[in-house]
Amino acid sequence: MGATVDEPRSSEGRSTPWLANLRVVATTCEMALKHAATDSFIIFAVFVQPLIIALLGLYMLRERGGDYAIFVVVGSGLTGLWSSLLFVSGGALNQERWSGTLESLVGMPTSLEVVVFGKNLAYVTQSLGSMVLAYALASLLFGTPLHVAQPLLFLASIILTTVSFVCLGLLLAPMFVANPDIRNFVNALEYPMYILAGFLFPIALLPGWTTPLSYVLAPYWAAEALHAASTGTAALNNMALDWGMLLVLGAAYVLIGRWLFRVFLRKARQDATLDFF
């Protein structure tokens, strides 16, 4: 051991906070994807589970024809996005705790929410791959001609969906910071979201009292926008409402998430749970 070259110092090379945070998001994204590529559970949650749902859905609805196939495929892709966000993004902080890196993350100058944002971005983007895969496989297996009726609107909706899902993840993660046992509670959130957000069937089939709940969930507006753009039923004013709600709810999730991070990180430092597992 022992280097002979002059030591490069880093104090001169510190970046502005915004640029530095952007770099953190990009590096976190890259490392999270590298890490996920070796994790069989993540591969199951992101690729296998939505495929199973898409195949079962298409098989059951194959006689109905029309828009049902594309409806089910888009819905199954959204289930993949949600499961990934719930288990992988939320669970990622528990995994950090388990591997002893959560303390390192908290003890660094980067805010933990920036790291979580980068991780969520990686996992949600990865889940988009599962949506494409579900499309391609369903087309092949059932010979169903799947085409997106309004591709530009669909693409814009996909981008806004990704952003809003990443922001929604900022609401979930702080709870994992404060209490590792929260995963038992979070597990119970998977299926209610499928139903309340109308991933696989319209929320008009649900009792009226659940509608306000759906309205405060960005995944509901994402499902609305994506279903409409893919089936060609999108009216521009409705689409504008969906996109607007995705942006407004996304911003609200960020603000609430930042506050929750502050509260729960303080609680974790108070209760000594950063290294507790």
Partner: protein, 334 residues
């Protein structure tokens, strides 16, 4: 560098701790739940001068790690204040975090599925190190800790010693002014521990302020400028290693190799006026009887007479070490 030199030159404190306390709460029972309070750190005060290597020594559960976690902003104190480079660790954790580096002993705290280089690249971005600087600094640090040839391999394939050394490289990425090393050599083989101590010495020669906790007395003796001995959450002594040894300079250590010594014989020895304290260490098939006595070699005949009937091996009389001073301090403070 300028800041560190200024601190050292002016004798300014890099770390200031005053009346620091930390109480852990644990709940007991299911139906009638009771809250039990454990005082992990109990009203400790000390300061570390810029450029100093300060040791925290104490048995397991003495409060060393809790103290380090409070100073590194990972744990909130129950009472008292702590400042690092003038910044309060509770009120202004941000500036503290960007100026310190820390290691908690053991293999955890790294991303095992990523390569060593990727780990450092990721942590460099988290420390807001400019990519150009990180690009030069990562190979430099990997070389410094002897890992350059294995930098592209996944950390899960590293030995424990390699992981510990990667930790050292990680904590130096942003060229911190103050380092907290919590048992950095724990679990390392003798060669690995020696190499790591050399790295710490090199850091010391760069005038970095270092707070080191360790179980190994010779390590503390050879590295630290000053040592605080902590027991049951309280600082029971604080001095230079030679100053601490002076506490036991009135005593010599008589080490007697024995085979199967009965407890009652040890108890009889303890009552002898020639004996200050006695301890027994098990060493494979034999034991080492360690007697602290003010009489030195003059006490040997009396001790051997007391051991009549016990098989005795080698007898040595030596000057007390830091370990002897430590054992005495810890024993005296319960």
């Amino acid at each position: 560098m300028r800041m560190r030199s200024k601190l050292r030159g002016a004798g300014l404190n890099a770390i200031e701790v005053e009346g620091l306390r930390r109480v852990y709460k644990a709940t007991i029972g299911v139906i009638r739940r009771k809250v039990k309070e454990v005082e992990a750190v109990d009203d400790i005060s000390f300061s570390v001068v810029g450029g100093e290597l300060f040791g925290l020594l104490g048995p397991n559960g003495a409060g060393k790690t809790t103290t380090v976690k409070m100073l590194t902003t990972l744990l909130l104190p129950t009472a008292g204040t702590a400042r690092v480079l003038g910044y309060d660790v509770v009120e202004t954790p941000g500036p503290v975090r960007s100026r310190i580096g820390f290691i908690f002993g053991g293999e955890r705290g790294l991303y095992w599925r990523l390569s060593g280089n990727d780990n450092l690249r990721y942590f460099a971005s988290l420390y807001h190190v400019d990519p150009d600087v990180a690009h030069q600094r990562i190979p430099y640090l990997m070389d410094m800790v002897g890992l350059q040839a294995r930098g592209n391999e996944k950390v899960e394939g590293y030995s424990r010693g390699m992981k510990q050394r990667l930790h050292i490289a990680r904590t130096l990425l942003h060229d911190p002014e103050v380092l907290f090393l919590d048992e950095p050599t724990i679990g390392l083989d003798p060669v690995g521990a020696r190499e790591l101590r050399q790295v710490v010495r090199n850091l010391q020669s760069e005038s970095k302020t270092i707070l080191l906790t360790t179980h190994y007395m010779f390590e503390a003796d050879s590295l630290c400028d000053r040592i605080a001995v902590i027991n049951h959450g309280r600082i029971v002594a604080m001095d230079t290693p030679s100053g601490l040894k002076k506490n036991v300079s009135d005593l010599s250590v008589i080490e007697i190799e024995v085979f199967g010594i009965p407890d009652e014989v040890v108890e009889t020895l303890r009552q002898s006026p020639a004996v200050h304290s006695v301890s027994v260490e098990n060493r494979d098939q034999r034991q080492a009887l360690l007697v602290h006595s003010p009489l030195g070699s003059e006490a040997v005949p009396e001790l051997l007479a007391s051991l009549d009937g016990t098989r005795v091996g080698k007898v040595t009389v030596r000057e007390p070490t830091l370990e002897d001073a430590y054992v005495r301090l810890v024993a005296e403070t319960g």
